[in-house]
């Protein structure tokens, strides 16, 4: 129901971002990469995972555009690309903003409706 964000970020892009973020290991890898680039071996170590397993996660992150891998360097380090995260954050912030803004307008409307009802009742009383 959020408005502007959908117009800005492509939904398919958001789907890929959020699907990639759905896995705790992948989130941990991203958090690790936030403090600097790392090779597959360096990433595998703290997670007690095999390098092929880490590579699988890196592929998902890469196709979601969340990381960039340097093909030129021997160790093929991965680094974080935060742009899709920025889009995802904006999507959520705007969803929230949509509701908060709407509810404030609803507060005002309900106030007005309550006042009208009260006046309506008073008028009826006067007639009787």
């Amino acid at each position: 129901m959020e408005l502007t964000g959908y117009g800005v970020a492509s939904p398919a892009h958001l789907d890929a971002t959020f699907a990639a973020l759905a896995d705790p290991t992948r989130r941990a890898i991203l958090a690790r990469l936030a403090s600097g680039e790392a090779s597959v071996a360096e990433l595998a170590e703290p997670f007690a995972m095999s390098q092929p397993a880490v590579s699988k996660h890196l592929k998902v992150l890469q196709s979601a555009g969340l990381i960039i891998r340097d093909r030129a360097a021997q160790r093929r380090p991965s680094r974080l690309d935060a742009r899709p995260l920025a889009e995802a954050c904006q999507w959520l912030a705007e969803y929230r903003q949509f509701w908060e803004s709407s509810f404030q307008q609803l507060d005002a409307l309900l106030d007005e409706l309550k006042t009208k009802k009260k006046k309506g009742k008073k008028r009826k009383h006067k007639k009787h």
Partner: protein, 162 residues
């Protein structure tokens, strides 16, 4: 008295987003404000700069609703359509939700519960797709998650700063 602080956005299960808020009005009135088109189009507007030129509501089981928003400055349009599945006046509304900008369907359950002199409204959106579900679940509305929204932001900015 108004209750802007009662606003909460949470994820009760891994396919749901829930938005709740208390309003200082009797339940019947809040229910009306959610179901009468002439009232809905006066508040369901989001941030300033949007209007709601289309707001059709056929309030019966199997009946359709159609919302269309328009950006006042650039004319951009966003639509939301759906079908009512269950109506228990003034307590409950269940309806499907199909955004016009995305080929997905969600099921919205809206409850209205009396709370003190006011009414607590809770909308639960159940998404069909794992991706949209994860939009809510994994990116930080739940503060207990390993990677919170703040964390994502911190990551974003640390990377931008680097």
């Amino acid at each position: 008295m108004m209750y802007p602080d009662s606003f909460k956005m949470t994820t009760p299960s891994d396919r749901e987003i829930q938005v709740t808020r208390v309003f200082d009005a009797p339940r019947e009135l809040v229910f009306e404000a959610f179901t009468k088109p002439e009232l809905v189009k006066r508040w369901l507007l989001g941030p300033p700069g949007w209007s709601m030129p289309v707001c059709d509501i056929d309030l019966r089981v199997g009946g359709a609703y159609r919302y269309l928003w328009q950006n006042d400055s650039d004319g951009r349009e966003m639509g939301l359509n759906g079908i009512f599945r269950e109506i228990v006046r003034p307590k409950l509304l269940v309806a499907t939700e199909n955004p016009t900008w995305h080929a997905s369907e969600a099921l919205d359950t809206t409850t209205f519960v009396e709370e003190g002199d006011g009414t607590r409204m809770t909308i639960t959106v159940l998404y069909e797709s794992i991706q949209v579900r994860d939009a809510a679940l994994k990116s930080g509305m739940d503060r207990g998650m390993a990677m919170s929204y703040d964390r994502l932001e911190a990551m974003m900015f640390s990377n931008l700063a680097a």
